[in-house]
Amino acid sequence: MNPLCSPRDHTLSRRAFLGGGLGLLASPLFAEAMKQRDKQVLFVWLDGGMSQLETWDPKPNTEFGGPFRSIPTSVPGIHFGELMPKLAKQMHKLCVVRSMSTKDNAHSSGVDRIQRGDPKNRGVPYPHFGAGVAKLLGPGTSGLPPYVWIKPGSGGFRAEDAGFLGPKYGSLAFGDGKPPDNLLRHPDISAEQDAARNELRQMLDQRFAKQREKRVVEANASVFDMAEKLMARADIFDTSKLPERDRDRYGRHDLGQHMLVARQMLEAGVRFVKVTSYGWDTHGDHFNSQTTMVPKFDQAFSAMLEDLESSGLLKTTLVICLSEFGRTPRINGHVGRDHWPEAWSIAMAGHGVKHGMVVGETNERGTEVKSQPFDIGAAFHTWYQALGIDSHKVEFDNAGQPLPIAHDDMLPIKEALA
């Protein structure tokens, strides 16, 4: 414990974030917390596992390096795989960690562990990073749902992503980047009729609340609140009115168009936006698939970075891009790379992280981390601290039981923090 901290500081850090007493308003720490309410997160999830060797950590002309060349980036001495020419020009905005080394190589457990930060097992499901941010930083001033998820396929509310925080902090998924069905008020119902219906619903809700657990009631009410706010901002799903040039810059593929919706969400003030791209589990015909998948990612992600910078949002938005794990150095009989948690890369940009740098190093063959390896818990500490949340002091409140927000035994990746 830091001897310069007062006991009050420690109480404050938890209570302040959990909605503590008004007396705390005068605290400098609380003022700092209030400032943090403008911070946002873009979390790009490449489901299935991106190959570090064809992207962030190329090993050209080596045993496992694959067929592609590496190219210089905007930061002298740092190279990317040749399939990411647009991002190579934006390396000065990025912080790449090449020394991730995690435990799990199975999708079934890996996805969950990575997105929950793999904390120590305390018998309760931990929240996804998005839910944690939604809880700790709050919904922001936009009034929009704090944790949204843009993904191919179906949408819906995913209460389980919130873990022990309760369903209120779950993710609201927009399938194919579209608003939920029936979002807008039916044309046969007038605004007055709609208001009357809501009044009736709220009355019934109060009766319902008397017989139910508080967190369930809150979640129920928040769904209606979300719907109301979204009805007012249905425009953020509509990219058709954007200039054709913008739509082309992001790419007409689903990742590009979903990233464009994500940009609108961030511009509208959504606290945490997750964008998922599926199909990165390239167990077969890996190199041919990389020739078009990686450039599509390169296009969409680099367009987003450009726009966040030009709008000024990159100053307040923490950008994270990662997968479940990397891909094996060795090539299987189906010309595929399999699951590889041993040595892989993540990329970050924006608020709270250093720019134009690479942290960590893998060996020449790309099979092991040569520098200090970082597990996902270290990444969670890093991200929380980048957002101004002291991940060693601040705790979650699990029905009165304080729980650390990141793995107790791990530390942030200090080299990455601004």
């Binding site: 299935g48 050209p60 002309n61 045993e63 496992f64 390096g65 694959g66 067929p67 592609f68 060349r69 040749e82 190589n105 199975a106 191919p152 593929h253 689903d254 990742l255 791209s277 599926y278 199909g279 990165w280 589990d281 390239t282 167990h283 077969g284 015909d285 041919n288 698939s289 020739t291 078009t292 998948m293 599509k296 990612f297 094996t328 150095p329 060795r330 090539i331 299987n332 009989g333 189906h334 010309v335 595929g336 399999d338 699951h339 590889w340 948690p341 041993e342 063959r365 099979t367």
Partner: protein, 337 residues
């Protein structure tokens, strides 16, 4: 026409092989694969004996073709290098014949020209003796396969196949092999691997796979038969389940039968022989895992299939008994017919 191949020997290789061919006189087997060298073996009719490898390539050595009448070998790599080699000597070389991955090389029947295609979307024709570029055509997409006769025929990732006259200034015919392509989420699944003329040029075969879904991917080995005169698809042969994957190599035996090898999900793989007049294979061998190349000896009595070691797949850290990180290899299976 029907052959009954029997495996007579198996030889080790140190790394994985993606393509292999015999020289015009059958004395040498050469192979390219997942490394920046060309492996060579002497062949005496019973066994292959390693010869010094040719080095100086980059990334992966990706394509090779022997001169049909001379002891010359044309080799390319995934960084765009194209080289003509005789013995140990390089006769000519282009470090950037293409921008990046050079996918296939084909020699003309008389050996005067070679053609190349690449990920950069270009098809190029070269003077085989000097390496001088004679012509080029921008196909626009990643060009996966080609063959060279009096004209040049090439096919791209999306299964668009075209035949152009030799100077590449005029398109003669188009063929629709788009069944060999599928977009699955972000993944473009291009299934074309081999183009081959049979029947004295009357029929064009386009071989590869019919993709079903991405990532792994699941796909069915497929050979499309096109009538060269009309461009029409006349027959489709599929062989195996959606785990069998791609026809990676297809050659025609002097007696007319087609010989193909396939590789799909790790552990699967087959050699099959087909009478082009029929729809079903008359011979099938599934004892080899993940076959990627078939080199037919000029005597017509021998051929070599390269497969992959049985335990090639695996998530995580697969180690040898000595604790070293494993790499995979391609056993060489020698057959006699």
């Amino acid at each position: 026409m029907k052959l009954e191949p029997k495996q007579i020997a198996e030889f080790k290789s140190e790394r994985q092989i993606s393509a292999a061919r015999f020289s015009h006189d059958g004395s040498m087997l050469a192979a390219v694969g997942y490394e920046p060298i060309v492996r060579r073996w002497a062949f005496d009719g019973k066994a292959v004996t390693p010869l010094p490898a040719i080095e100086g390539f980059h990334g992966y050595s990706t394509a090779l073709a022997f001169h049909p009448k001379q002891p010359r070998l044309f080799v390319a790599d995934s960084w765009g290098q194209l080289r003509c080699i005789e013995g140990e000597k390089t006769l000519w070389q282009h470090e950037s014949a293409h921008d990046g991955w050079l996918r296939q090389i084909a020699a003309s029947p008389d050996g005067s020209r070679i053609a190349t295609c690449g990920k950069d979307g270009f098809v190029r024709v070269w003077d085989a003796a000097t390496g001088k570029k004679l012509a080029e055509h921008q196909a626009g997409e990643d060009v996966y396969a080609l063959t060279l006769t009096d004209s040049i025929t090439f096919g791209d990732m999306r299964g668009r196949i075209e035949t152009w006259d030799v100077d590449l200034k005029k398109k003669q015919r188009s063929f629709d092999a788009s069944v060999l392509y599928k977009l699955d989420r972000l993944q473009d699944l291009g299934g074309l691997r081999v183009l081959l003329f049979i029947d004295g040029g009357k029929t064009l075969l386009a071989a590869g796979t019919t993709p079903q879904n991405g990532a792994t991917p699941q796909s069915i080995p497929t050979i499309l038969f096109f009538d060269t005169a009309t461009g029409k698809l006349t027959k489709t042969v599929t062989h195996g389940t959606n785990k069998e994957g791609y026809v990676h190599d297809l050659v025609q035996h002097p007696n007319g039968c087609l010989m193909a090898v396939t590789a799909g999900t790790p552990g699967s793989g087959q050699l099959f022989l087909l009478d082009p007049a029929e729809k079903e294979a008359f011979h099938e061998n599934k004892k080899m895992a993940n076959c990627h190349a078939l080199a037919l000896h000029p005597d017509g009595k021998h051929f070599v299939v390269t497969s992959t070691n049985r335990d090639s797949n695996g998530n995580g850290k697969s180690l040898t008994k000595d604790g070293a990180y494993k790499t995979n290899t391609s056993p060489l299976h020698l057959f006699e017919v």
